[in-house]
């Protein structure tokens, strides 16, 4: 429970931290996305129901920060009122839950103490989340544009995630050990 809370709070601080990391000029302006890496670690370390909670938190926070609302001035009162939400609050929750569920499929390997595949997968899924965002925007605004820059930004965030994931996983595994949380079932540990 303590470790779950630590990971949940880490999601928030990862989101805050990534606000201060600018786009990477040597990766065509790709962004460093820390929060998805924490989420994907959570998907590996916790059971399905806990992953859903983390996906809900991550998706909610992300949408609350990025959702764009259109406003119009009410002619009668002269006040500005919200008229339309471009992409509904909550869609990132579904996206993260879907990606987290994919990650959970690789949990048995993680429980055997192998996590190189998962680090790689974190990158792939981070890119998938950026691509999904782009497709959602395209769906709303029209004009399906896929330039080299778009692909770089999608892939670049994934590449950065691949590099950062091992450090992130190592730190969380160490914390899990220090608070006595078993990321690997005892039976499997003993069998090894």
């Amino acid at each position: 429970m303590i470790f779950f809370l630590i990971v949940a709070v880490s999601l928030f601080f990862a989101l805050v931290a990534q606000q201060f990391i600018g786009p990477l000029p040597w990766l065509h302006g790709s962004r460093v996305l820390l929060m998805p890496i924490v989420l994907f670690y959570g998907a590996l370390a916790f059971p399905f129901w806990a992953m859903l909670i983390l996906a809900f938190l991550a998706g909610f926070m992300w949408d609350a920060l990025t959702v764009q609302i259109a406003f119009a001035r009410d002619i009668g009162t002269g006040q500005t009122v919200a008229t339309n939400v471009e992409i509904s609050l909550g869609w990132s929750i579904l996206l993260y839950a879907a990606l987290g569920s994919l990650m959970i499929g690789f949990r048995p390997l993680f429980q055997r103490g192998r996590w190189e595949v998962h680090c790689l997968l974190s990158g792939v899924l981070t890119s998938a989340s950026v691509l999904a965002e782009y497709l959602m925007i395209t769906l709303r605004r029209g004009d399906l544009i896929f330039t080299k820059e778009v692909w770089w930004r999608i892939g670049g965030s994934g590449l950065v995630a691949v590099v950062l994931a091992p450090f992130c996983f190592f730190i969380f595994n160490s914390i899990a050990e220090s608070v006595g949380y078993e990321t690997r079932p005892r039976k499997k540990k003993e069998a090894e």
Binding site: V16, Q19, F20, S30, V85, L89, Y134, I137
Partner: protein, 267 residues
């Protein structure tokens, strides 16, 4: 699947459904509440970031300091020379402004604000400023610098607000081109090559005789942005099937922006 996994899934679907069912007004309230919650962390982070940058910049070698000193001496001499010329220009400028009543048009009530964080998302262009409802900021207020237009406020919390930049595809500004009758809409490009955001001027007439270097100003139509604020200069103009299209270099460097002003209306 275990029972409590199914139960969690049902609760999860119900909660996501509830979020999807939110009206735009309630979504706005949720967004403002979350912005209010996160803003103390963003402000603290921004302060830390500034300290780290200041410390990093302070670490200069003796050679760098000597070089800086030389550069500053040259700059000083250049500035002194330019100052007398500028004084003449200032007088002339004031006269012309008076004649055109430009001062009256461009005189806004401005509230200074500092950028505390930038959006970390790939496809949206927003920044967060350290002014909010407590300072009188409301939704849809224009944000600018002395160089030109920056964007407008969208989500507003107690002591911070989100500003959607003119480089965002969703921030549209009615604009006019200097020295012509051309009117159009300025909007950001979804993707731009490199780090510099690109903005474009659309819905121009096909026969618009626009040349690179012509300045683009807000026209004031739409009542959100005041008229006469510089947006940028035309980089390229081309004819499309139905309209004319121009790419614009923004007047304000949106990537290095630190301080802005929120426009509270005319004086």
């Amino acid at each position: 699947m275990r029972r409590y996994n199914i139960a969690a899934l049902v609760v999860f679907i119900f909660m996501v459904g509830a979020l999807f069912a939110l009206t735009p007004r309630n979504t706005q309230k949720v967004q403002s509440a979350f912005l209010g919650m996160i803003s103390p962390f963003l402000k603290t982070g921004s302060g830390l970031q500034q300290r780290v940058v200041a410390f990093h910049e302070g670490l200069k070698t003796l050679q760098q300091l000597e070089q800086d000193n030389k550069t500053l001496l040259v700059e000083n001499a250049q500035l002194r020379t330019g100052l007398s010329y500028l004084r003449d220009l200032e007088g002339e400028n004031n006269r012309l402004r008076h004649a055109l009543e430009y001062r009256e048009r461009a005189a806004f009530n401005l509230v200074p604000a500092r950028i505390i964080a930038r959006d970390s998302s790939t496809w949206w262009n927003t920044v967060r400023i350290d002014r909010g409802i407590d300072d009188g900021v409301e939704i849809d207020m224009p944000v600018l610098t002395e160089d030109g237009l920056v964007g407008k406020t969208t989500a507003v919390a107690g002591s911070s607000s989100t500003v959607v930049l003119i480089s965002d595809e969703n921030c549209k500004v009615a604009a006019t081109v200097e020295g012509t009758q051309e009117q159009g809409i300025v909007k950001g490009e979804r993707t731009s090559s490199g780090l510099q955001p690109q903005i474009s001027l659309i819905f121009l007439s096909k026969n618009a005789n626009l040349k690179p270097g012509m300045r683009v100003f807000s026209s004031g139509a739409g009542s959100v942005f005041p008229a006469g604020v510089s947006i940028g200069v035309i980089k390229e103009f081309r004819k499309r099937e139905l309209d004319g299209y121009a790419t614009i270099v923004p007047s304000v460097d949106l990537t290095t922006l630190e301080d802005v002003f929120v426009v509270f209306g005319k004086k």
